[in-house]
């Protein structure tokens, strides 16, 4: 186990293993999302209150969940990179940040589109989760801006890791302090006592979308980390050897 992890942490091995792992995330992910989109749009019955407008949850819920998941991945790998000085962990947080920012944006955009027919407004400052999601987007933007401002990769890695950790401590506090305001947002339906308060015909497509999005996120993350590793190791020998081997050239 430890040996495997140790091997995984070395860039050339990771680069190869990630290539093999990629399809295992991408294809089941595409399959689940395909089923979820079809079932969510055509098979699930319209909601008795919200009509067809509720169908946006099939994108909104997975995106919102992944926006937070990506921050956790970013912060945890930043911590690992800072403490054990593992280069690969830093590459993971660098790759996770833009993905997380896009999922946050997607959650905000779908939430806002859903808000138009439901609340009669595109944006509602009184809704705590919409507001804390916006703050999360700013946290991602700050993280990426700090990374961009520092030229040296090692320094950028470590400085942004400190920021990610400080941010991770603050995320729950921000969430609950924003929640202090009275809430317009839907109460939790999925995770609550006595099972989800949702018809199975609506529930299964949602679960499929959540798992599908997660797998696709994994695939995208793997791909981005591979690119990041390749870029960081561009002066290393194994990269040169690999490129020479693939073009059929000799040294």
């Amino acid at each position: 186990m430890w040996k495997f992890l140790h091997k995984l942490a070395s860039p050339p091995h990771f680069y190869r293993i990630a290539e093999n792992m990629l399809p295992w995330f991408a294809f089941p992910g595409l399959l689940l999302v395909g089923y979820g989109v079809y079932a969510g749009l055509f098979l699930a019955p319209p909601d008795y209150q919200q009509g067809d407008a509720f169908r946006i949850i099939y994108v909104h819920v997975p995106a919102a969940y992944l926006s937070m998941m990506a921050y956790m991945i970013m912060a945890i790998s930043a911590g690992i990179g800072l403490i054990w000085r593992m280069k690969l962990a830093h590459a993971v947080s660098a790759a996770a940040a833009p993905l997380g920012a896009w999922f946050t944006f997607l959650a905000l955009a779908t939430g806002s589109i859903w808000g138009r027919p439901m609340w009669g407004t595109w944006w509602e400052w009184g809704d705590p989760r919409l507001t804390s999601e916006l703050v999360l987007l700013f946290l991602y933007l700050g993280y990426m801006a700090l990374r961009n401002a520092i030229e040296d990769t090692t320094k950028a890695d470590r400085a942004s890791a400190v920021l990610a950790l400080v941010g991770a401590v603050n995320v729950p506090i921000i969430h609950f302090s924003v929640e202090w305001w009275s809430s317009l947002h839907q109460g939790p339906t999925l995770v609550k006592k006595g099972g989800p308060a949702m018809d199975t015909a609506m529930l299964y497509p949602l679960l499929a979308m959540i798992f599908g999005f997660t797998l696709l996120f994994g695939a995208l993350l793997l791909r981005r980390v591979r690119t990041e590793v390749l870029y960081r190791e561009r002066r290393k020998r194994w990269v040169r050897d690999m490129i020479l081997a693939s073009t059929g050239g000799s040294k």
Partner: protein
Amino acid sequence: MSASDEQLPGIWLGTSALVKRDLALVIKRPGDMLNPLFFFAMVATLFPLAVGPAAEQLQFSGPGVLWVAALLATLLSLNSLFLGDFEDGSLEQLLVSPVPLSALALGKSIAHWLTSGLPLVLVSPLVALTYQMSLAVTGVLMLTLLLGTISLSLLGSIGAALTVGLHRGTALLSLLILPLAMPVLIFGARTVSLVAAGDGVAGGLYFLAAYAMLMISISPFATAAALRISNE
């Protein structure tokens, strides 16, 4: 103070020397302390000019406006927290000193709060007066600012340490710190609004105090780590 304390510069000695030095620097150059205060007063002046001088409106939006102005003024003063030390090389002396860097970082934050947060608290009643706030509301405003600016100084020192020596540091610092400062702003401004509406304030003050405690325990270490990274 015993003889051994003088021979071996202790944590207390080093930190208090740093605080005294920063205070002496501000006394020599009062602009560093006064400019953010003027900025605070000016932002507070802009709002009545922009939204109209109706007393009810000012009373209603006053707590929020003054808190946003205080937050921006604190950010303004944070830019120069480590800049002078970085430019004249004394930051490197701090890094190699035998006193733990986290203690020195705490000293920097204390000096920063004494020269930015505390003056803001003392000036705020004057501005609150022009916003037609009652005495009780002004008192709560001062209390929230007192507790809130401690958190802002500590939180900001992490950001200042991360961006010290970067070209685009000014805008970047705001981008890093503002999202993190939101709980302080929410609880600071809402507590003042609550007391203006006749509600209890204990909860909000407890939260601000707890957040300040959290920052006191996290910020010195995070700032020290960030200073080491920035000066590698």
